[in-house]
């Protein structure tokens, strides 16, 4: 004969229950502490810090994992980002290749010294990619959030920003992107829809006070750009 409580678990005394709940909460708390809800103030601080620099430069190591290729392609070089002028990306190994990305133009420098290649036809898809690159380096969060759905993760000084494309055109090209860094941008990973994953690691990134003339002139197609010397450029 089955009595009422025979097959059901013995109800715990109320006090025990309460203690268990507290225990559960207690163990949950540290876990939550590892993933604090990113406070807008903290995000603003990070953005401000990144935006405060008008010129940064450093070295990069690019790893490109192509779909179907067991071994990734490696490239390395240096870059200079000059606010309101553009991003100069110079690959030194395995080939020499330099490009200046500006908001209106894409300048290819085939040789370390010499004139640029003539301007090609405008490509809206390319312009989107350029726009994203420049937004990343200038920490233009507003622009990025217009094109992507962003998710922040903070871990002490370090931060990670995951971007999922929200714009139709971008979605055709980029599957998702991730940025991470601390005081400076440290890595940028872009997974393209074609199936390759490009990872860029930035090393020795620092604010620059000025540029050598030759390098400065690579930010425009025509010579005649006013270049900040080491004395004038503000860190």
């Amino acid at each position: 004969m089955l009595t009422r409580g025979a097959n059901s678990p013995t109800p715990l005394p109320a006090r025990v229950r309460a203690w268990l709940v507290l225990l559960a909460l207690g163990t949950a708390l540290p876990a939550a502490a590892q993933e604090p809800a990113p406070s807008p103030a903290r995000i603003a601080e990070i953005t401000r810090q990144l935006q405060s620099q008008s010129m940064i430069g450093g070295q990069f190591v690019q790893t490109r994992a192509l779909h179907g290729l067991p071994r990734p392609l490696l490239a390395s070089g240096r870059f200079v980002y000059w606010r309101d002028h553009g991003l100069y990306w110079e690959t030194l190994a395995p080939f020499y290749q330099a490009t200046t990305f500006t908001s209106t133009d894409l300048i290819n420098w085939p040789e370390p010294v010499g004139p640029p290649q003539p301007r090609g036809p405008d490509d809206p898809i390319q312009q989107h990619v350029t726009g994203i690159l420049l937004a990343v380096f200038s920490a233009d969060l507003q622009r990025l959030e217009g094109l992507f759905e962003s998710r922040w993760q903070l871990d002490g000084d370090a931060w990670t920003l995951t971007l999922e494309p929200a714009n139709k055109v971008v979605r055709r090209v980029i599957a998702h992107a991730t940025l991470s860094g601390a005081r400076q941008l440290r890595t940028l990973t872009v997974a393209s829809r074609a199936g390759d994953v490009n990872t860029m690691e930035f090393r020795e990134v620092a604010a620059l006070a000025g540029l050598p003339q030759a390098l400065c002139e690579r930010f425009a197609r025509e010579p005649g750009l006013v270049c900040p010397t080491a004395a004038e450029g503000a860190p």
Partner: protein
């Protein structure tokens, strides 16, 4: 034949009954035709080129031109400009949000994102056929051996630019598809995509950035009533934005703005002119006859005539051109003379008659007047141009109808004259006669002869003709300027000039276009055109696809192809290369076909393809920035058969010129015919003097126009027909009744006054063709009024 001073003779009852019977028959006939037209639906033709005799191929040109025109007809573009691009973008964002509020506009269909999505379908199609597609630079490179392709592709792999690749490396190692895609024009040239907007900086206005906001009109906006609402809405937004953002300018472009402005001007003018003339005519009639019935009956007779003309012409021609309606109706305005003469006779001061006798008194002159006017307009019927023939037919039938109505109905329907016309009116009407009496007939005639000579010389020396299309419609200069500025930013294709290519089949057509491409590039580099767009750029002919495939096989995907070399260099497994070569082998003969392409192509490309028409296939090549028409024409001629350069503006000008020449010739023929009729009727060559009044009036009018530097257009010539008709009427009535007969003089004065009011006020219009008509009739009527009493001597009577 009646003499000076009306003698009221008894009209023959039989003739009256005949007239009424004739009217009844005509009414019945026209009613039948009208009912038939109502049932079938009236067809009003508005295209000017329907006035031209149909050339073979003209229909195709017309259809093509209409497509280009219609493509822009349902959209508008706002360009938000500022020196600072960011400011312009912010202002544009606000403007776009505001534009979205209206149900009349669809902002998203034309946005770059939507267009890119549309383009995505096409991209997928191209990708499927990528082994048949190469751009000209690639073809040249591959034909030369393809050296450097591999190296370049490898280098590009390491470039951040390569993140924009749509295809995986294993599918397209040399990145050929990417290059092909990039070689094709996408948005406006010189434009940069910022967010979802094109931002353009043009060399015409350096330092200034414009954000383009295209919007399509929804179906509800295409109705006429919604037009005003839409324009007011857009203007409101433009103003708000300019005020909220100092330094920002909002330009507007779109056919709807022109149409709205034209409608507003027309409305204003119709109110002014229509209202003015209506008031004036009513006042005149009431002044002269003291009761509204004469006016009503006069209008009825003209309305009856018009109604007959519409019914018969619709039946005869199957359609009625709007131009015919407009000019034909005005020519019928001569018909109001008949009731006028009747009523002045009825309200005579000197010898009032009864209703029926009044008609009897003027019947001979009425008949001759009709005959001469019919001869005048009838001569237009001999024109080889359908347009002029229609006008002739409309006018002839309209006149006949009005005349018949006057003769049959007026004696029956007119009220007994309660009082004669005012004496003051008679005194005013007699002024020209008194003037000539003062001067003396002989000296006056000598002076006129001299004047005629001077006039002839002036005309011969100074009279210019104009076939400018702008006589038909003169757009508002401010609107046109904005239109041009925005056009330069957007890189619009010209709707009026394009190349029409025909071929025996779709393949033949595409090959012909491809053969043209080199010539077009030459024209581009010579500066004759700023750009061009042909469907063969996006859809190669099968022959070319075959060639492309062969080239790719030879250099890239065949044995020892460069693609496989690169794959192995990068470290791909051999299975990848094998899969690629298999895919390539399977693609042989898998051509991209027109039907497939057109289904995926965006609307701007679709409209270039006219398809199969009347046994041949046709397509258009759209042109941008046409600067040198002569070179283009030569190039089209040199390209051989199947390529035609179409210039609609030139075609319309040629049409106007042709019509003008014909009309001028036929005017002379009309004068000649009338001379012969007069000779026959009055059996003496002296009767030709009757034609002097309108002839001289026309000559003097032309002299004044020449002296003022106004070029002569087709519409001046149309007006001269009217001047002829009116002048002949005046001359004939005066000749019949005598130079002293006050009734006739009053009738003529009233006729000139009503002509002046109804047509002369047209001289105030801003549309050149209407203005031309009005000015000519005004001047011509005035001269007719002045000269008829002097020159219209009754044949056989001594000159006084």
């Amino acid at each position: 034949m009646t003499g000076a001073g009306a003698v009221c003779s008894d009209p023959a009852r039989r003739r009256e009954r005949l007239a009424v019977a004739a009217l009844a028959v005509v009414t019945a006939l026209c009613a039948a035709l009208f009912a038939q037209a109502l049932a079938r639906g009236f067809v009003f033709e508005t295209d000017l080129q329907a006035l031209l005799p149909q050339r073979a191929g003209a229909a195709l040109e017309q259809a093509a031109g209409e497509r280009l025109f219609a493509h822009g007809g349902d959209r508008l573009v706002l360009a938000v400009g500022a020196d600072d691009a960011e400011l312009a973008l912010r202002a544009a964002g606000d403007a776009q949000a505001a534009l979205r509020q209206s149900p009349l506009l669809d902002v998203d269909t034309l946005s770059p994102a939507t267009q890119a999505a549309q383009g995505a379908q096409l991209l997928d199609l191209w990708w499927r056929h990528r082994f048949q597609l190469l751009d000209p630079a690639q073809r040249a490179q591959l034909a030369a051996g393809g050296a450097g392709l591999q190296r370049r592709a490898e280098r590009d792999l390491y470039d951040p630019k390569a993140w924009g690749r749509l295809s995986a490396v294993e599918d397209d190692p040399l990145n050929l598809f990417e290059q092909f895609r990039r070689s094709l024009p996408t948005g406006p040239s010189g434009a940069v995509l910022r967010g979802d907007h094109w931002v353009v900086e043009t060399p015409l206005e350096p330092g200034r950035h414009y954000v383009l906001l295209p919007a399509a009109m929804t179906d509800s906006a295409l109705k006429l009533a919604a037009q005003r609402q839409l324009v007011a809405f857009v203007e409101g937004i433009a103003q708000r934005v300019s005020e909220a953002y100092p330094g920002v300018e909002v330009l507007r472009s779109g056919i709807v703005f022109h149409a709205d402005r034209a409608a507003q001007t027309a409305r204003a003018e119709i109110s002014l002119i229509g209202g003015g003339s209506a008031l004036g005519i009513v006042a005149l009639f009431l002044l002269a006859f003291g009761s509204p019935r004469p006016l009503l009956l006069s209008l009825c007779s003209v309305a009856f005539g018009s109604w007959c003309a519409v019914s018969v012409c619709q039946w005869l021609f199957g359609e009625l051109h709007l131009l015919t309606l407009v000019f034909g109706a005005s020519l019928i305005g001569v018909a109001i003379d008949y009731p006028l003469h009747y009523f002045t006779r009825l309200h005579s001061r000197r010898a009032p008659c009864g209703r029926r006798r009044a008609l009897q008194a003027i019947l001979p002159a009425l008949c001759m007047g009709l005959a001469t006017t019919l001869l005048g307009y009838g001569s237009l019927a001999q024109a080889p141009l359908p347009g002029l023939r229609q006008v002739a037919c409309f006018s002839v039938i309209g006149l006949l109808g009005a005349w018949l109505f006057t003769v049959a109905v007026l004696p029956l329907a007119a009220a007994r004259a309660r009082r004669p016309y005012p004496a003051a009116l008679a005194r005013v009407a007699e002024l020209p006669t008194r003037l000539w009496q003062r001067v003396g007939a002989a000296p006056a005639r000598r002076a006129l002869a001299a004047l005629a000579l001077v006039g002839a010389v002036t005309c011969a020396a100074a009279l210019k003709t104009s076939d400018d299309v702008r006589t038909l419609y003169r757009p508002d200069p401010a609107l046109i300027q904005q239109e041009q500025r925005v056009g330069a930013l957007v890189g619009n294709y010209s709707p009026n000039q394009f190349l029409l290519v025909t071929g025996a089949s779709a393949e033949d057509l595409l090959q012909r276009e491809e053969a043209l491409q080199q010539r077009l590039n030459q024209l581009h580099s010579d500066g004759a055109i700023a750009g061009w767009s042909a469907i063969s750029q996006y859809l190669p002919s099968q022959q070319r696809q075959r060639e492309n495939h062969a080239l790719l096989e030879r250099v890239v995907y065949g044995e020892d192809g460069a693609a496989y070399a690169l794959l192995s260099r990068l470290g791909f497994e051999s299975a990848t290369a094998l899969a690629l070569s298999q895919r390539f082998a399977r693609s042989r003969g898998d051509y991209l076909l027109p039907e497939e392409f057109l289904a995926a192509a965006p609307p701007p490309l679709q409209l270039l393809w006219l398809g199969a028409r009347q046994g041949s296939w046709a397509s258009m090549i759209a042109l941008r920035g046409v600067a040198d028409l002569a070179t283009l024409r030569q190039a089209a001629l040199a390209a051989g058969p199947g390529v035609v350069f179409v210039d609609r503006v030139a075609a319309i000008s040629a049409l106007l010129q042709h019509q003008s020449q014909q009309a001028a010739l036929l005017l002379l023929v009309a004068y000649g015919g009338i001379c012969l009729l007069l000779r026959w009727r009055y059996r003496s060559w002296a009767a030709l003097r009757l034609v002097l009044a309108p002839a001289l009036a026309s000559l003097l009018t032309l002299t004044l126009l020449a002296a003022a530097g106004t070029p002569l257009t087709l519409f001046h010539l149309f007006a001269l027909f009217l001047v002829l008709g009116l002048g002949m009427d005046y001359s004939l009535f005066i000749a019949d009744a005598g130079q002293r007969d006050p009734d006739t003089l009053v009738a003529i004065a009233l006729s000139a006054a009503t002509s002046g009011l109804s047509f002369g006020l047209l001289a105030l219009s801003s549309t050149p063709m209407v203005q031309a008509f009005g000015v000519t009739v005004l001047l011509g009527s005035a001269f007719n009024l002045l000269l008829a009493p002097l020159l219209a001597v009754r044949p056989g009577a001594p000159a006084r």
